[in-house]
């Protein structure tokens, strides 16, 4: 077969993870922003903007995990073992927040604050755990043969804690710009006001990660700062600056969809930067997608299933967003 299976699978998993980050990003972002919005009615509207679609967003996490097992079993074994504690905390956060999401609509007024805190708390825990995992992933893992050899808390470093906090800002940006798109009136004005400091926080976080990472990893520094690659890769940071500048400008003139599109662009750029830094490794610092790949027979076999199912997932996702398009009005819920 003329298809490069490991690369194709890496693209599928990369795409799935990006879809996850984008889609669960804005609904986790709504949980992150909830404590900044005091009015119960506005909180209901915020949660209602994602109520019809949020369950589907986590499909991509399942797809990513299952694909990793099928296509890169070594990466599945090592990453899940190395990130065991943060991932357990992430799942605990996601489970708890999913339950709170359902119950907050049913609760008595007296118990509402409890479920709101549960929803926000679960979102914070899940997001920080994902960001910490990302930081630990960039730092790399100790691997001998087919197994992870590091300690249970190797993932906990100042860098990974920073990426944990940075991801809070990134998801808050997705959430606030999503709400600018989906709401109107007071809530939208509040979100426009919040988006400005969040955008600057994201810019600072991206800047810090972009300096901190090459300082820690000579290989990543060489990737970005060698000649002539410098010229080919320069558009990534320049586009980040351009996107932030455009964001700050559009926030001044009654924006609607533009901030969300710019937030997606920023996220895509950050994701590309990460891919450029780590390629072709699937287990940093030195195990490549080829070394971790499953036998071609199993990659080919599972590819048939993946290529069959992914268009359906994309199709129903697009359909449900289309059906629930437009502004969500206060009091009009789908719950």
């Amino acid at each position: 077969m003329g298809v490069d299976l490991p690369i194709l699978w890496a693209l599928i998993i990369g795409f799935g993870l990006m879809m996850y980050v984008v889609m669960d990003g804005f609904d986790l972002g709504i949980g992150i922003l909830l404590p900044f919005v005091p009015s119960i009615e506005d909180r209901d509207t915020m949660v209602n903007t994602v109520a019809p679609v949020w369950d589907g967003n986590e499909t991509w996490l399942v797809l990513g995990g299952a694909s990793l097992l099928a296509a890169f079993p070594l990466a599945y074994a090592v990453l899940l073992s190395a990130l065991y504690i943060p991932l357990v905390l992430m799942f605990a956060g996601l489970i708890w927040r999913g339950v709170a999401f359902e119950f907050r609509f049913k609760a008595d007024v007296a118990h509402r604050p409890f479920w709101d805190k549960a929803f926000a708390g679960g979102s914070y825990v899940a997001t920080i755990a994902q960001g910490v995992s990302l930081g630990a992933f960039i730092n790399g893992f100790k691997v001998t043969g087919p197994s992870y050899q590091g300690g249970a808390f190797d993932w906990l470093t100042p860098f990974s804690l920073f990426t944990g906090i940075a991801l809070l800002a990134a998801y808050a940006l997705l959430g606030s710009t999503w709400l600018i798109l989906k709401t109107e009136g007071d809530l939208q004005r509040r979100m426009i006001a919040l988006t400005r400091p969040i955008t600057l926080t994201v810019l600072i976080s991206v800047g810090v990660v972009s300096v901190w990472t090459p300082l820690n990893h000579a290989g990543i520094a060489a990737r970005w700062f060698s000649f002539p690659d410098l010229f080919f890769l320069a558009p990534v940071p320049l586009l980040v600056l351009l996107a932030v500048w455009t964001m700050l400008r559009v926030l001044n003139r009654s924006p609607n969809a533009a901030p969300f599109c710019l937030a997606l662009l920023l996220l895509f750029l950050g994701y590309s930067g990460l891919a450029i830094s780590l390629w072709p490794n699937i287990i940093p610092p030195n195990i490549s997608i080829r070394a971790a790949a499953a036998p071609p027979q199993s990659m080919g076999f599972t590819l048939v299933g993946a290529l069959f199912i992914i268009p359906f997932i994309l199709g129903y996702t697009a359909w449900s967003y289309f059906v629930f398009r437009g502004k969500v009005k206060a009091g009009g819920g789908y719950h």
Binding site: W96, Y148, H335
Partner: protein, 80 residues
């Protein structure tokens, strides 16, 4: 490959702690859910929900939409 060869090198303490986290989260989630369902059962069927329009209004939603909004899922720790 034997099970002993496939086992990860996480310590028993680590695995017990994470198992405890899952038990706790599931007990809280399902405990609330079960107490909520018991409350719904105790209330019995709502006669006013019989109208076709009401059912139609609730149809395109999620499983919990079927339940009325005026029953509180919170667990009553102090029974009166």
């Amino acid at each position: 490959m034997r099970t002993s060869e496939a086992v990860s090198n996480h310590s028993p303490q680590e695995l017990s702690a994470t198992l405890a986290i899952f038990v706790l989260v599931y007990c809280a989630a399902f405990g609330t859910g079960i107490s909520y369902m018991i409350k719904l059962v105790a209330r019995g069927p709502d006669a006013s929900l019989g109208q076709a329009e009401e059912i139609l209004h609730r149809r395109p939603a999620r499983p919990l939409s079927a339940a009325p909004d005026n029953v509180d899922p919170a667990v009553d720790l102090v029974k009166d």
